[in-house]
């Protein structure tokens, strides 16, 4: 199976929340996927149980009794790490960390990111062929990878450097929207196009009795209805399911992209076709598949879509959805969702815990759902 997840991940341990948030932002900007921040070695160990990061930053109290165990666990997994600490490297407590790079706290986040970059190149274990093959371009590539819109559009049409710069600018100031927030409601006059940069949002319609049918997921890199400004009113509602980073593109900006940036326009139109193809597939799902097949199909799709924008590993991804969300997506009751999830687990096909989906046997899950990725038009990326 082709490995699509080449975006390096960093386990960030930091006991000062503000430092953690700041570092986390800087790491994400540099193209890393951040696991954490966590404040204790115990939390870090439990995260390590779930996922092995590419690199780690230890910025927690060295007096934490589990620190030595943490270092052992990182070494066992071949994870290179640096220490970001208020203590000097000559402290007796520092012995446990061997000759790991040491940065005295507080250090500018840029320095931490820069040392981490050197560490990733120096370490470059077998699991990082991409980094080893093209070390000089690592940072640049990561910056591009970090933008899911660019990743997605580039899979549909080649973009120029100028196109990428423009798209970066468009995405530069996203709004952080809490979960379960309506971005635009049915009946509203459309005012631009929403672009999701992180998190899960959805299009849905409500019945008078409050029951909801989710018609589409908007995942990072997805945007809704390019030409919605032609309509007088919205015929459906767009709502965040999890916390999301969202950008609203004004109708004039969308018009400019479509008129004056032919490569971007081509990719956007193709993306629109994929949205329609996906809707047809979802219609097939709710009309002609059993409860367990519907969920299996949905999980295959979400994994591939998130992998295509660099936000999933080979077999696992975030799935910040409730059973009610899944029920409203697949047109079944939450009782049937619960039973079907248990059955999928019992058959050894998936794990779903803490908002994270892990597909244990993709081949069998795909066979169960009769999932064919052709409608996503991912090209080589669908070669899973």
């Amino acid at each position: 199976m082709m490995r699509l997840d080449q975006q390096p991940s960093v386990l960030l341990m930091e006991d000062f929340p503000l430092v953690g948030m700041d570092l986390s932002d800087n790491l994400e900007q540099a193209g890393y996927r951040v696991l954490g921040p966590v404040a204790t070695a115990a939390e870090a160990l439990s995260l390590l149980e779930r996922e092995t990061p590419t690199l780690a930053i230890i910025g927690i109290a060295l007096t934490d009794k589990l620190c030595a165990e943490l270092v052992r666990a990182l070494r066992q997994r071949g994870v290179a790490f640096l220490v970001h600490s208020g203590y000097g490297q000559d402290e007796p407590l520092a012995d446990a960390f061997g000759d790991a790079p040491w940065i005295i706290k507080p250090a500018p986040p840029g320095d931490v990111v820069s040392v981490l970059g050197e560490l990733s190149l120096a370490a470059a274990p077998a699991s990082q062929e991409a980094a080893a093959a093209a070390p000089a371009r690592l940072v640049e590539q990561n910056a591009v990878r970090a933008n899911p819109l660019i990743r997605k559009l580039e899979s549909f049409a080649p973009l120029s450097a100028e196109d990428r710069t423009l798209l970066e600018q468009i995405c530069a100031s996203p709004r952080l929207v809490p979960p379960h927030t309506d971005l635009v409601r049915e009946g509203d006059k459309p005012d631009g196009v929403f672009l999701v940069l992180s998190g899960f949002a959805c299009r849905h319609k409500l019945r008078a009795n409050g029951s909801r049918q989710i018609n589409a997921y908007l995942l990072p890199g997805d945007l809704c209805d390019l030409d919605v400004a032609l309509l007088e009113e919205m015929d459906h509602t767009i709502t965040t399911l999890s916390a999301c980073k969202v950008v609203r593109l004004a109708p004039e900006l969308v018009a400019d992209l479509l008129l004056h940036h032919p490569r971007i326009a081509r990719a956007l139109r193709k993306s629109q076709l994929v949205d329609e193809a996906t809707l047809r597939e979802w219609l097939m799902n709710v009309g002609r598949r059993s409860a367990i097949e519907r969920l299996a199909h949905l999980f295959c799709e979400v994994l591939l879509r998130l992998r295509a924008v660099g936000l999933a590993t080979e077999s696992s991804c975030e799935l910040p959805l409730t059973q009610v969300d899944l029920a409203d997506t697949t047109g079944i009751t939450s009782v049937h969702v619960n039973r079907s999830l248990r059955e999928l687990r019992r058959r050894g096909l998936i794990e779903l815990e803490g908002g994270r989906l892990k597909i244990l046997d993709y081949a069998r899950l795909r066979a169960l759902a009769e999932f064919r990725a052709n409608y996503l038009h991912l090209g080589d990326q669908a070669a899973a």
Binding site: S211, T333, V335, E343
Partner: protein
Amino acid sequence: MSLRLQPVQVATNSDDQESQLVFHEGFLVAVLVRLSDEHGDKAGMWFLEAGFGQVDDPNPPPFANLAEAQGWIAARLA
């Protein structure tokens, strides 16, 4: 309105087995299944596994007990 219950077991492919067929004037109108411990805060409640005719509903609420379920079914048939 009088409804008649008949205990059965339904193969739901889960731990939810204890069930009741619900008859009205000799016709089967619904199948209720008691939710097992698998269902967290809904455990012990009754679920409309199937409703026929006017009792059909894609979004049935869970019922705290059989009396509540029968009340809901009777209202649909009235």
